[in-house]
Amino acid sequence: MALEIPKVSYSGKIKEIVLGKGDKALTVGGETSYPFYLFEGQMPLKPRIAMEVYDSPPEDWAPTALEPFADVASDPVAWARKCIDTYGAEMIALQLVSTDPNGENRSAEEAAALTKKVAEAVDVPLIVWGCNNAEKDTEVLKKIAEDCAGRSLMIGPVTEANYKQVGAVAIGYEHTVIASTPIDINLAKQLNILLGNLGVPDGRILIDPTTGALGYGLEYGYSVMERIRMAALTQEDERLQFPMICNLGKEVWKTKEAKQSRDEAPKLGDPAKRGVLMEAITAQLVLAAGADILIMRHPESIALIQDMLNDLLAA
């Protein structure tokens, strides 16, 4: 008598969302099972990885993380091209850290001009991520949405505090919103309802559940993502049936252990391999919890994850 593994019956399905436009556009979502549970459902579309590009030269990066980009660190356009040409990036995520009012405080105009240049230089889907200051992000993302009209960018983080303004321009100029809430299933659902009421079409919403790094709060996001997927697939919670995006590279690489040298941490092995593994493991765990899009930094972590994705999704 052969064993029948008890199956979960899934009644819901994750919405398919098109990222970018043209030849290099990608589609994510479409799952009808928990992540990679192909023995009882489908995951027709592979999760995708965006490579990070920063709007100002990184300071204080781990040498391993900086090394691949050292020659392009002060030129975001060249950086983005290098990601695509050298590392085969299927997507780019422009991190607009220098717009932070507590930092360089670069203007919305500057940010928009830069985004436009990058958008023109790349043909892959482009994510644009603000500085996490709701007020400033509103101003910056609005300007970008307008100046890059019709380019189908993914813009975020769109929060409870600025969804009306940013949502409105996203509708008007045809961009996708990254609906960001701090590790809470109810808040995630609520924001998606609000965006829907505002008129943002379902095909243009991504959930950012907020991601902590391995060893730094990862488990909270992991469980919230699992719960979001559970509600979406088994409880037909329609407002949670969106693909999830995790901006994890910057979280991992800011941790102490991802940066320490061999002298500083002799027990932690090879610093280069350690950083890469910390990023790849964080990515692997959020994938297991339901991520559809990952924003990552190191080419080697990305290659490892691509390899795992191929294995996990093999026919």
Partner: protein, 448 residues
């Protein structure tokens, strides 16, 4: 899994004699179901029924221990599929594989590295606890000598790996007192390995290709009276490894398949030649139910992230780890030493106090009760607001212990410094660095 009161009642004598201390069999059954009574209180249940009820109330996944003493590893006892439902109980044992065909010098080097792999985190010691000793020489004497050499050098949970019962028998003579895991009984050796395990009173791993073969072997061994079993389903690729782990856990929990109600053992190194990818497969297995994970290599750079993974996945999701609200003295602070403040989330406390310690600058660290929330989370939740922080600083008595009036707050909370200065007019509020890692440099140039 547990029977309901009614199910138990059906098996009782239904005479309502009251000798169990409750007036009716039904009332007794209800108490049993909720764990408020012991079956032994009723003198009239038959042995058969007793066995049935005992078995039905055992946890769906067997709890067992490998090894003895300090590095004993407890496995199994899991009751849920998702960690938000209830805490995952027993984190997987990480094992380093060593072979009896390795040079002595290689083995010694690997062992000394293994001993070094110990990390302190949130007040816990994280380390790999197991060694998988593999016979590849085909020589029973050589394997036994190898096992002896290893256990003389190190106290760890041992997994003895050989397909040959006669080789296993020799090795068990050396170390059965250490309660090693015997790896493994196959469909051909089930009986012989089963007998060895029974005699030595050691746990036994079952190796079969696929769950059906595994079940046939565990069934046979259970029939022989063996209870402490561990499962290896020999998946051929990563996808199958995930499927098997989910299948085993779910079958045991949902369908109560007894033949699969055991912890598992996995070998990510069998699925790839790359050490980096091996670590990544291991990271997934930690989240997805593996009981033991045997690695072909252990270095700080793969073990440390995997231990963090395990720590994260196995923490209690209902209860953030917190430390006590009070003034912590680090390095014997004096009246001119710096005063810092942070939240009582364990992770935050241990990171910050660790950095202060490593700065070698004696300091006062005020830990405010934030209900176990990190600095920013607490701030966003209103548990680290200027008024309550000020109240805590005042009642902490720190003003009597230092001469100066300078308080260092976390860099991420720069925005609250003005408000805090209003609440604490005697104090000057200094905004520290954002990341604790920059505290040593900051403290070294700090002056009262």
């Amino acid at each position: 899994m547990a029977l309901s009161g009614i199910e138990i009642f059906k098996k009782l004598p239904k005479t309502n004699c009251g000798e169990c201390g409750v007036p009716t069999c039904l009332a007794f059954a209800m108490k049993l179901a909720t764990g408020q009574a012991e079956l032994s209180a009723c003198p009239y249940v038959s042995d058969e029924v007793r066995a049935e009820i005992d078995e039905a109330s055992a946890p769906p996944i067997r709890t067992l221990t490998i090894g003895t003493g300090d590095r004993a590893v407890k496995l199994g006892g899991e009751t849920v599929m998702f960690r938000h439902e209830k805490r995952f109980e027993n984190p997987p044992g990480l094992a380093l594989m060593l072979s009896d065909t390795m040079d002595d010098s290689v083995v010694n080097e690997k062992l000394s590295k293994f001993k070094d792999l110990e990390f302190e985190r949130v007040g816990l010691i994280l380390r790999p606890q197991m060694l998988a000793l593999k016979e590849e020489s085909g020589d029973a004497g050589k394997f036994a000598a190898f096992v002896k050499r290893v256990i003389d050098q190190i106290d760890a949970g041992i997994i003895l790996m050989s397909d040959k019962p006669e080789v296993m028998a020799e090795a068990l003579k050396i170390c059965k007192d250490k309660k090693p895991l015997i790896y493994a009984a196959t469909k051909d050796t089930a009986e012989a390995m089963g007998n060895l395990a029974k005699e030595a009173a050691c746990p036994l791993a079952v190796k079969g290709s696929g769950l059906d073969e595994v079940m046939a072997i565990t069934d046979k061994l259970m029939g022989m009276g063996l209870k402490d079993l561990v499962i290896d389903s020999q998946p051929v690729n990563v996808k199958k490894a995930l499927e098997d782990q989910v299948g085993i856990r779910r079958s045991a929990l949902v369908k109560k398949v007894k033949q699969l109600g055991f912890p598992t053992i996995t070998f990510p190194g069998q699925l790839t030649d790359s050490k980096m990818k091996e670590a990544l497969i291991a990271s997934l297995l930690i989240a997805k139910y593996a009981g033991i994970i045997v690695l072909s290599e252990m270095e700080g750079h793969n073990v440390f992230p995997l231990l963090l993974d395990s720590l994260n996945i196995y923490t209690d999701p209902q209860r953030p780890m917190a430390v006590e609200e009070k003034v912590y003295e680090i390095g014997g602070p004096r009246e001119d030493s710096p005063v810092l403040i942070t939240s009582n989330f364990s992770l935050t406390y241990f990171i910050v106090s660790g950095e202060v310690e490593s700065s070698r600058v004696p300091a006062w660290l005020l830990i405010k009760d934030t209900e176990g929330l990190s600095v920013l989370t607490a701030w966003a939740a209103g548990k680290f607001a200027a008024d309550t922080v000020a109240m805590f600083v005042k009642k902490s008595g720190i003003a009597d212990r230092v001469k100066h009036r300078k308080l260092v707050i976390p860099g991420y909370l720069a925005g609250m410094s003005g408000e805090l200065e209003e609440e604490l007019p005697d104090w000057q509020i200094l905004v520290g660095p954002r990341e604790a890692a920059h505290l040593p440099a900051y403290l070294k140039q700090w002056s009262a």
